[in-house]
């Protein structure tokens, strides 16, 4: 369907040095599309990156890929054999026991509620994918003794402790029919860690698994965490498989069940953001319609003369549609390049903006300072308390391809209506005017 | 009525490759209420001279005084008001505003200078009746004939009661019959309302109808 004739016509109509204004229309339309694609791509890539980043961290450190909870009190032998059984399944990468509980932590200078995770001492070797996200800020990852403790950076901050300090913890053990047993004990801070996402390690403390079993004897505290090689494929089937092989007495959940509401809320926010950025592209497409209409008006005489020499309307229409296509492609190209550049360098861009604004902030504060006492405060655009500390960008080529195609189609469609009207123009009406 | 005094007027164009001299050392004095016919071959600078007098074009050197206005010492906005109040322009092409009716076209210059719309319309009406276009006054230019349009252009030039009428080949686009009519109307109006007229034309037969006959040749003005 690509007729070389209409293509040449399109090229001819677009060139020509006579009227700079006309060129600026087209350029404006191209830039409009380009500009409008930048927020779309940036939002798409950043939101995907953030969601994936947060989800991944939860999957590796919070919920694991599969979680098995026994409905009874598991002793060490049963625990070992269960772990062996699960390990035998294909696609299982690692299996480990975890004990969860809550308690209070006290130091010389601070108090806070905390959430315990009791792990095997070789946890980082067993679960390499979690090790990827656990960053040791100071000290060492050491959970070999009963009083070993790894604190999250937030807990360390509230308690104002450093590796080597001692803290006192209080946990409570339920005994049915009797008052709960309150057990204070001392722990030594071996190291301080963070996972990069505040919410995840907010009040976290890691201790040795045996210590955990002593503190939290309730059968609900022990779970078996499972990591798979491929947690995204057929997760439902794999969950079923584990259920079957274990039989009754266990509940098995996968990461999707456990984190579903969080993931859904992220996706909803993302959808709304995307919707809004798509709106901008639509407005830019309307620009194209406008530019084509103006081009048609500009080239009225030429069209009339062509039609009176027998050139069919379809060719005229196609020529202007090609124009829209060319605008669409060039605009999309510019938008993609700039948008991807912005997305890939987003961390740098944010830090730069923060730095620039803070520089001015300083001067603004000085200007306003005579009457006010201003606190030393720096502007932070992306606060690690609410977002990841570094936005991971993994370019999703399929999405990009989709966006490009849709934008080009949109441009062509936007050009189509004025193009059709151009084709329908009556030569005599126009020539009479000139 | 106004008088025109031109001293040592010199006008040239720089076309990039050469310097074209249109008017050389032109001197002219026109008394009020005089009708001057200006002839000359094509490209001799007749239109240019009119444009210079009205301030629509810039001179290279010299001085043009209309009454007490030094035309080329005024800034754009002063020139606009000067043109609005003191000069009536008639061109070969009618240059009517196509979105407005005949009577609206005529009253426009008056409305622009601040005259209330009703008063301006009334004045316009008088002039339109004077040239016999009463039945056509609410028509758009697209609905008028060539001769009718030029008639409207003629009376439009007079609405603000300017002292000078500059007419550049007003009958150039019209047929014989219409041309005669326009000439009649023009001379009639100028006489009745007492104005100075500077009329550029190709038609040498008109020369005798005016008070003076000037010829512009090679940038030099000669009186006949």
């Amino acid at each position: 369907m690509i007729s070389s004739r209409s293509f040449f016509l399109a090229a001819k109509l677009l060139s020509g040095k006579r009227n700079i204004l006309k060129k600026r229309n087209i350029l404006g339309a191209v830039l409009g599309i380009g500009l409008s694609l930048i927020p779309l791509i940036v939002v798409l890539e950043i939101s995907s990156g953030m969601i994936e980043g947060i989800t991944e961290r939860y999957m590796e450190i919070g919920s694991y890929h599969l979680q098995i909870k026994p409905f009874f009190n598991m002793d060490q032998d049963k625990q070992d054999s269960t772990i062996q059984i699960i390990k035998s399944l294909k696609d299982v990468k690692s299996v480990f026991p975890v004990v969860n509980g809550v308690g209070l932590a006290y130091s010389e200078n601070g108090r806070t509620g905390i959430s315990f995770k009791a792990l095997p001492e070789d946890y980082l070797e067993i679960d390499k994918s979690a090790a990827k996200f656990i960053k040791i800020e100071s000290g060492k990852f050491k959970l070999d003794t009963n009083d070993s403790a790894m604190l999250s950076s937030e807990v360390a901050r509230i308690l104002d402790v450093v590796p080597g300090d001692r803290i006192k913890i209080l946990t409570a053990r339920k005994i049915p029919g009797r008052r709960p047993v309150l057990k204070p004990s001392y722990l030594t801070v071996n190291g301080i860690f963070s996972t990069g996402y505040y919410e995840l390690d907010a009040l976290s403390i890691y201790i040795n698994i045996d210590k955990g079993k002593k503190l939290f004897t309730d059968k609900n505290s022990l779970i078996i965490g499972v990591k798979l090689f491929n947690p995204f494929e057929n997760i439902k089937e794999k969950t079923k498989e584990v259920r079957n092989i274990l039989g009754t007495g266990y509940s098995v959940h996968n990461w999707y069940n456990l984190e579903q509401s969080m993931i859904d809320s992220f996706n909803t926010t993302r959808t709304i953001l995307l919707f809004i950025t798509i709106l901008i592209v639509i407005v830019a497409a309307m620009n194209i319609s406008s530019a084509i209409v103006m081009l048609v008006m500009e080239k009225e005489e030429a069209i009339a003369m062509l039609k009176s020499t027998g050139v069919p309307s379809a060719l005229i229409t196609r020529t202007f549609v090609y124009m829209g296509f060319i605008i669409g492609i060039s605009g999309t190209f510019i938008g993609l390049v700039l948008g991807l550049l912005a997305a890939i360098n987003i961390n740098g861009i944010i830090h730069l903006s923060e730095a620039v604004i803070n520089k001015f902030y300083y001067y603004i504060q000085i200007l306003l300072s005579p009457l006010l006492i201003l606190k030393e405060r720096n502007l932070v655009i992306i606060d690690t308390a609410y977002y990841l500390d570094k936005i991971p960008i993994k370019l999703n080529l399929i999405n990009i391809l989709l966006i490009s195609t849709l934008t080009i189609l949109l441009s062509v469609f936007a050009a189509y209506i004025p193009a059709k009207r151009a084709g329908k123009l009556k030569p005599m009406d126009i020539l009479r005017k000139h | 009525m106004s008088n025109i005094v031109i001293e040592n007027l010199y006008k040239s164009y720089n076309t990039g490759t050469e310097n074209l001299v249109i008017l050389k050392n032109l001197n002219l004095t026109v008394e009020p209420n005089t009708r001057v016919i200006l002839t000359g071959s094509s490209g001799s600078g007749k239109s240019t001279l009119l444009n210079l007098i009205s301030g629509m074009d810039n001179l290279s050197s010299g001085k043009i005084m209309v009454d007490n206005y030094n035309v080329h010492k005024m800034d754009e906005s002063a020139l606009s008001s000067f043109r609005a109040s003191s000069i009536g322009l008639i061109f070969q092409f009618h240059y009517l505003l196509k979105d407005f009716t005949a009577i609206e076209n005529v009253m426009m210059p008056a409305y622009m200078t601040g005259m209330p719309k009703i008063e301006a319309l009334a004045k316009a009406r008088e002039l339109i009746v004077e040239v016999g276009l009463e039945t056509r006054m609410n028509h758009l230019p697209s609905q008028l004939s060539g001769g009718e349009k030029q008639r409207v252009a003629v009376v439009r030039s007079m609405i603000n009661n300017p002292g000078i009428i500059l007419a550049d080949e007003p009958t150039g686009n019209l047929d014989e019959a219409n041309s005669r009519k326009i000439e009649e109307i023009l001379f009639e109006l100028v006489k009745n309302h007492g104005k100075t007229l500077l009329l550029v034309t190709h038609d040498n037969s008109l020369a005798t109808r005016g008070d003076r006959h000037l010829k512009l040749e090679n940038g030099i003005l000669a009186e006949l």
């Binding site: 409009g32 406008s290 | 409305y111």
Partner: protein, 433 residues
């Protein structure tokens, strides 16, 4: 200016004739563009404000107050209270002590909870906070020494209801070495639902007179101050420091919440910037289409100038057109935006139903490949967001700003397009051949 009437006369005549000759294509698109921009901005602002303001009010009224005054006292001091209450601009003062505890219902596990020990009658001290807590059942008064008020979410976790007993566990004593654990039974005398998940899930209130046994020596009295005008926090903070002395630390709500509120503000600003791009794109479009029509009208403009109009007046004729494009776009966008915002919940449920319907049709045709959920598609699911419906709040000054910005963009675009009029010389345009 006496000659301003003719400008409007001419301008409106041109606009009227535009409609007649059907040359309204580009103009209609420009108006639509502005309209979409305004509509999007108004709706998004309405929703964001609704969500954010809800949080902010909760946080300020319940947690951060306008000013927090940290003391070294173990019990509230009547003198301190008096001094604070007498400072001009201070509306209410609430002394409280924050204690970290573990809490457990009859059959549940332990949860970590932040207990805020407050005076018996909250309503007398800080009516705004009493209001914001939004008590669902029971009493806000902590009449007995073992009364406790907890959030509905916490109650659900603990499986406890009004009048049930719960036990609080903590470590008390003086100094790190002497900390000893103890537990105490409390009775749930009230349930609150502030709407802010964190509070409803991990906060409880007890009587301040009981707090000494719960405290571990590090918990000192904090005075929560509310002001008549929250923006005078800096001045009043200074006053407080003067009157109370150096041992008291004074923190304003701005600094206390700086990172959260900062994040909210950043989100809002980023959103406005992004949507504001629409105006840039449309502005350029308006400029070009007006330039175009000015080129078409070159002769008309030259005629007007030869008749005595100065270039400035002629420019105004066309700037009016730009203004009207902006104005009509802004008005229609405003109406649409307000409509959407007011009816956002119906719109969302409508869209969700529509998509579910379409999905179900697809499912009939294409068998589920990796069907994860058979739930209805929900654009906004209450469970995920801890609110039953999307709150909206329209701040009229913001809406006005958006309106003005839209009109300004259009008018500026027209102004810049009209610059080419200065380049038109009547003598060049009106030439005799």
């Amino acid at each position: 200016m006496k000659n301003i009437r003719w400008i409007f006369f001419t301008s409106f005549r041109y606009l009227r004739n535009r409609k007649a000759t059907k040359r309204i294509g580009p103009a209609a698109l420009s108006i639509a563009g502005i309209s979409i921009g305004v509509m999007a901005l108004v709706s998004v602002l309405g929703i964001m404000n609704g969500l954010q303001l809800g949080f902010i009010e909760d946080i300020i009224n319940i947690n951060s107050f306008h000013i927090r005054v940290y003391s070294n006292q173990i019990e509230p001091d009547p003198d301190t209270l008096n001094i604070l209450k007498n400072i001009d601009g201070i509306k209410s003062v609430l002394p409280f002590i924050d204690i970290q505890t573990l809490i457990k219902g009859a059959y549940s596990d332990y949860e970590a909870v932040n207990i805020r020990a407050i005076p018996e009658n909250l309503g007398d001290y800080d009516p705004a906070m009493a209001n914001q807590l939004n008590l669902k059942s029971g009493d806000i008064e902590l009449t007995s020494s073992n009364s406790i008020i907890i959030g509905t979410q916490l109650a659900a976790c603990l499986g406890s209801n009004l009048n049930d007993n719960i036990s609080l566990v903590s470590m008390g004593g003086s100094g790190f070495k002497n900390l000893k654990p103890f537990d105490k039974e409390f009775k749930v005398t009230g349930l609150f639902q502030s709407g802010y998940y964190n509070f409803d899930r991990s906060m409880g209130f007890t009587n301040i007179n009981m707090s000494r046994s719960l405290a571990s020596g590090k918990e000192n009295v904090i005075y929560g101050v509310k002001l008549e005008n929250q923006y005078r926090d800096r001045d009043i903070a200074l006053l407080i420091k003067e009157q109370l002395g150096k041992e008291y630390e004074v923190v304003s709500w701005r600094d206390f919440n700086s990172s959260f509120f900062g994040a909210l503000r950043t989100e809002k600003n980023a959103m406005m910037l992004v949507i504001g791009l629409i105006f840039v794109v449309v502005g350029v479009n308006i400029k070009h289409s007006l330039e175009r029509s000015l080129v078409e009208k070159k002769e008309e403009i030259a005629i007007l100038m030869s008749l005595g109009a100065n270039p400035g007046s002629v420019k105004i004729i066309f700037i009016i057109e730009g203004f009207l494009i902006g104005f009509s776009g802004a008005v229609s966008g405003l109406v649409l935006g307000l409509l959407i915002t007011e009816n956002i919940n119906s719109i969302f449920s409508g869209i969700s139903s529509l998509i579910t319907y379409i999905e179900s049709i697809f499912r009939l045709i294409f068998l589920p490949l990796k069907g994860n959920s058979t739930d209805a598609f929900s654009l906004f699911s209450a469970d995920n967001f801890y609110i039953t419906e999307l709150p909206v709040r329209i701040i009229y000054s913001e809406v006005l700003l958006v309106f003005l910005f839209a009109v300004l963009t259009s008018t500026l675009a027209a102004y810049s397009a009209s610059e080419i009029i200065s380049r038109y010389k009547p003598s060049e345009v009106l030439r005799n051949e």
